[in-house]
Amino acid sequence: MKCLASLRDIQKRIDSTSKTKQITKAMEMVSASKMSKAEENAKSFVPYSEKIQEVVANIANNNMDVVHPMLEKRDVKKSGYFVITSDRGLAGAYNSGVLKKIYEAIHTKHQSTDEYTIIVVGRVGYEFFRKRGMPVSKSMLGMADQPDFNDIKELASETVQMFADEEIDELTMYYNHYKSAISQVVTSKQILPLTDLADMAGSTGTGNSQYEYEPDQEQILKVLLPQYAESLIYGALLDGKASEHAARMTAMRNATDNANELIDDLTLSYNRARQAAITQEINEIIGGVAALE
């Protein structure tokens, strides 16, 4: 227990903690509203992604011998990693989880920095890789809190173009998948080549609708597949953004709770110290009176 002289110190700490609490509380509420907006964005993207997936799967399903470079698995000389992080911290394990996972994956898979390249969204990730001397070929900083397709379109199509130009031979994406407001899971997902189309076609099971293709399937795939890959990237970004806001909200709620606890403890010690001071004063007065008698 602190001694008497610390009464003012304790009061100071209570004040500063409650100021911090105000900030974390506000951040929690801001994140909560951003999260529900981000969740809505992710939801409004679903019809598009489902439809495009259905059409792509349908084409792949009806015609198994279609050839397109994006469907072909080729020897991997260089891997590409697409990582989604946030621009700001204070989001709990949001960034560290994803960065740890990709860092481990890269170190078990690759010996030298020539074998891979990284495309990163978010300042935290960008600085992480730069500091460790890992190659970042493209990056996007200052992503909006509620991104729309235009914001990511350029980066997504450039990334898909890298694959088309054989600069990279596969593309894997690392991001936080939003399960619920309290649970986000670090996820890795292979985007290119699109090898899971055949399974997808089986699972959607809409093989009965035969389409006429105008002009022909290959032309359509040429337009459709890059769009599909871009839509996957955009989907992950929306997912990641919703996770970011959720993670920040949880982190801030924990901080607020901690601040409350700390304030309670401090208030208790403050009252004790105050009581001790009063007791001592009374003792002194009684002592003084006794000395006079």
Binding site: F45, P47, Y48, K51, F149, Y211, E212, Y213
Partner: protein
């Protein structure tokens, strides 16, 4: 009379869903007009306008990077962007047009050239429809 259910979907959410008599649009290899009862079809669209006709009303949409999926009684247009005339920011499109033109004039490598060319197309398409 039979109508087609037309839904226009972009990554930023659905733009429109309604019944129409006829859809006309510009696919990669020419104009397409779709009436109810069309056979199932998939076709990529150019950067162009889609015209949706209902009785005597015609609605225009500016689309880019899209394709069209047709079934006998419904049409789905999936596009990276799709805008109604009222939603088009004329000033911004005008600026984008000028920027693209400037870029096209200064000689650059192929990729940038193509990008500028399609930016110009998008801007002009928007301006056409907004007017």
């Amino acid at each position: 009379m039979k109508t087609l259910t037309v839904s226009v979907v972009t990554p930023d959410g659905p733009v429109l869903e309604d019944g129409f008599d006829m859809v006309s649009c510009k696919a990669e290899n020419g104009e397409l007009g779709i009436l109810p009862g069309h056979i199932p079809m998939v076709a990529p669209l150019t950067i162009s306008s889609v015209r949706l006709k209902h009785d005597d009303n015609i609605k225009n949409l500016a689309v880019s990077g899209g394709f069209l999926e047709v079934r006998p009684d419904n049409v789905t247009i999936l596009a990276q962007t799709a805008e109604k005339p009222v939603d088009i920011d004329v000033e911004r499109a005008e600026k984008a047009k000028q920027r693209a033109e400037r870029r096209l004039q200064s000689k650059q490598d192929d990729v940038d050239f193509q990008r500028a060319a399609s930016a110009l197309k998008r801007a002009m398409n928007r301006l056409d429809i907004a007017r």
